[in-house]
Symmetry: C2
Subunit: 553 residues, 2 copies
């Protein structure tokens, strides 16, 4: 077995069976190995940002990592923005990045770069394979790191000569998790999967990592119980894994029993929603609105959620949005046993396993008619969203009414822009559809963000994915026109306006989608939108609907 | 004046008057400042890779830096691949990257990243502004570093509070080049413009730099003169600045007088070509062919050119392509006084200032007819290429016959893919057109590479740029199918083939261009291609021609 084959074999043994890629010459042995390994699903992207975002969407839905296969430093670089979002989402992702053959590196050929340096800011784990003997263990360590908990982005760099060289077979039946010793990997620890805040690669086999996310220390359980028993205004903020399933329900039970508000972090990686599912209020993106949501609180209990901070700094607005005099309690962080922590809290408060967890009743908006507005578009989506849908939401300012209009729809999952790096929605939808065949994916995409990774549509067409994309087209970076005044930069004149407007020339998303093999149409009224949405969601394969909407801000 | 205004004022004082941008909230004060500074031309890109590639194209033609304005770490990340190409081209580029306000950074908001870490691998100079007093000097130092020689990518990181805070006016008449002391910038030295191979930021005000390109030491002049007088087979290899104007002519005179071959580096940033201009043979991309070009040489004289090395490593092929027994002589490197070195060499060899410099005669291929093939497409381009054209060449395998077919065309400039990071051609064409109004830009673009930064077309339409794009569409990553066998990975089966093919679905570049406001058509025969090319080049503004061609390899 050569190194490329062994890498893929190792990934498959760990259940990593989906590869998003745009390979190059240094990855050709991986491509050849994929040929011989049909159990690894290989998905081609026209741009690495599509591959990395698809791996994020896949991981959020499948709850296990996909692998990306990227070409040298530039391929890694092109994938970084969506890896940033994945890292913020704590999505498990494994990147395999090809590097020049070891003996070739000293000659500084044109494509040579510092791949580890590029990977570090957006990876929780980075390792370079330095020997045939250590290859499988390094790949294993990357999977360990990616899976966590907490999940993260793990990057393995494989020099070409180690991908084409013989490395031997895995021993049948043996675990590959704890294989060769750490010194076989540079940077990456082979087998230990440890992480550090800084570069401690020389110290006992720990790994490079400049990107481990900070999280405050867990509070004593007694303090949390006391806070929720105090009778003082309190809120529980769910985030991360607490936005789903039994964790969300348990948090909702505790909130209801103790009289606390139930809030959610602003941009959850994956939020379970719909009729019968507890519905926390998401903290607003706008700092001023988030402050209103938390006004008067004396206790804030964080359940796998970060401390509420402003997305950006503004002159005169504090960074931390927790009200003065409000105590912050951390029930559990991303690496903790969330179920036990919630059960212990419920026990301390005497909340039964079958306690009430308030949730929205089944309800849909009436089918709207008339002009396309942010409201009527939201109603149209609420009128048709199918059960089990996965919504990849990058609708930004155009979409502010959509969560409200879909709150009582049949159960569905909502994926948000976790890291603020735009261009996430289309790739995440692509990966989510591959992770969940049979479920309809609805991609809500703002025009400006859509153009970052529009190449995703081609992969959707090629793979025949059940993704319906709604491009909400307000001909502007709507959020920026608003932010310009918020940061105190005044009223935009002609030049500033031209840096925020997308109407010269207008983007024809129908043409763009058609050009990449995705059937597309334009809606001109709310009733037409309902009709084409229903049709699009009922038919197999991808489609795109361009929806002109007035600016909301 | 606030920091954003002072930054722009400082850049304008240094002659940097063109800004390629996709800004975000942390750059809104820059956007507002651009509003008040119409002498800075502001060009919006739909994706940062377009902005950074356009800055590369601009710098190659204007021979002075443009500035990019990028949004935080993700904006920087999206620009990196084309900054890699710019760094390899030694193009002067200044990046201004917004960062969160200093007091906000500790709270790790969603968009927080290690911007310096991201910038370093693709920048020759990185500095972060840390005080109002040091801002202008840091920006000045970045311009110094970018301009060189050698030119490089310089990145200045400006926290939002330092862009919105007051920094005072520049003193009228005073040079801003040597302003505040070095301690006012973290990483970046304010005023000295020194660079180092490693991080020596603590040592006397030098700067972070992990990306300074290596270059071998200059040889004693006597050795070079001796080598070219020896009568042994010799070649002069021109690269960098030696691919243009008087330097190219002087090198050609020396080669002709001494009987040496005249070669050029494989991927010059900007090569002057056409009737009457000395025409070095470019070293082939394929290592085997480059070895044939240099077979039997006993002396290789490098004139601002790197040592010929293989683009990738292949099993059994050496990395360095210089023949055994051939001595390597470095006449001058990227930071040296090239004119003096060439004059001294010419003097040593007794080559007069008006010595013969052989050059192609004026000649064009006949207008082709019949089927579209790599040969007929090349002839069509050779038949119509206008005088003064700028060719942005990312035609890859489809374009192998085009240099030959255009060798005798009227004088023109040829820009190539310097760093191997695909997605360069369209952005570079965009920036070149802005640098050279009145000159026709011809962008030769392979289908796979085109899809990396296809958003460039929108900026071309918006700015009304005279760019004619020819998409050479062979439905494949043609080079990779070839490389797969070269690296010894065998014959591709169905899965491998599907990772290299772009024919499922087919890309409709006419639809894609039209969707972004660029008029487009498809050529179906060689005579039709000539007709539409002539029409496209005669009309103002951008256009695109999709040209289906068979695979060449």
């Amino acid at each position: 077995m050569n190194g490329a084959e062994r890498t893929i074999d190792t990934l498959l043994r760990r259940g990593v069976d989906t590869c998003f890629t745009n390979p190059g010459t240094s990855e050709m042995h991986f491509v050849a190995a994929l040929d011989r390994t049909p159990s690894m699903r290989s998905v081609l992207a026209l741009f690495e940002g599509v591959a990395s975002g698809a791996a994020d969407g896949y991981g959020r839905i499948a709850r296990r990592p996909a692998v990306t296969l990227l070409h040298l430093g530039p391929g890694m670089a092109n994938g970084l923005a969506n890896l940033h979002n994945a890292r913020r989402a704590r999505t498990p992702v494994v990147n395999v990045v090809g590097e020049h053959a070891v003996a070739h590196q000293e000659f500084d050929p044109p494509l040579a770069t510092d791949i580890e340096g590029l990977a570090r800011p957006m990876s929780g784990w980075v390792g370079t394979v330095t020997s045939a003997a250590g290859l499988a263990a390094t790949v294993d360590a990357a999977v360990d790191a990616a899976v966590g908990p907490p999940g993260t982005v793990a990057t393995v760099i494989v020099p070409a000569d180690l991908s084409w060289g013989e490395v031997g077979e895995a021993v049948p039946g043996a675990s590959t998790t704890h294989g060769a010793p750490g010194e076989d990997a540079r940077g990456g620890s082979a087998g230990t999967g440890q992480r550090a805040d800084g570069d401690t690669s020389g110290a006992g086999g720990t790994v490079h990592s400049g990107a481990v996310l900070q999280f405050p220390a867990t509070s004593p359980m007694g303090d949390v119980v006391w806070a929720l028993r105090s009778g003082e205004p309190a809120a529980i903020v769910v985030g991360g894994r607490a936005c789903n399933g039994p964790f969300l329900r348990r948090a909702a039970q505790v909130a209801a029993a103790s009289g606390a508000q139930l809030l959610a972090e602003t941009f959850p990686a994956r939020l379970a929603r719909g009729a019968g599912i507890p519905a926390p209020d998401r903290l607003a993106y706008l700092a001023e609105l988030a402050q209103l949501q938390m006004a008067g609180l004396r206790h804030l209990v964080l359940v796998d959620a970060p401390t509420p901070v402003s997305f950006f700094a503004y002159p005169g607005i504090p960074s931390v949005l927790v009200p003065d005099g409000c105590a912050l309690h951390v029930l559990a962080g991303p690496g903790d046993d969330l179920g036990s922590a919630l059960d212990e809290l419920a026990g301390g408060l005497g909340v039964a396993a079958d306690a009430v967890a308030p949730a929205p009743a089944s309800a849909r908006p009436d089918r709207p008619s008339g002009a396309l507005t942010a409201q009527s578009v939201a109603a149209a989506i609420g009128a048709v969203l199918p059960e089990g849908a996965i919504v990849s939401d990058e609708s930004n300012t155009c979409g502010i009414h959509i969560p409200g209009a879909t709150a009582g729809c049949p159960p569905h999952d909502w994926l948000t822009l976790t890291g603020g790096a735009i261009g996430q929605g289309l790739p995440v939808a692509t990966g989510a559809a591959i992770a969940a065949p049979g479920r309809r994916v609805l991609c809500l995409e703002a025009d400006g963000s859509a153009m970052y990774t529009i190449q995703s549509l081609w992969t959707q067409a090629r793979e025949g994915l059940d993704v319906t994309t709604v491009v909400l087209d307000n001909h502007a970076y709507g959020i920026l026109a608003f932010e310009l005044s918020r940061v105190g930069a005044g009223t935009p004149g002609p030049i500033a306006s031209s840096m925020l407007d997308l109407d010269r020339p207008e983007l024809d998303f129908v043409a763009l989608a058609t050009g990449m093999g995705v059937p597309a149409c334009r809606a001109t009224s709310a009733e037409e939108l309902v009709t084409v949405l229903e049709k699009a969601m009922a038919e197999p394969g991808p489609s795109l609907i361009q929806v002109p909407v007035p600016r909301t801000l």
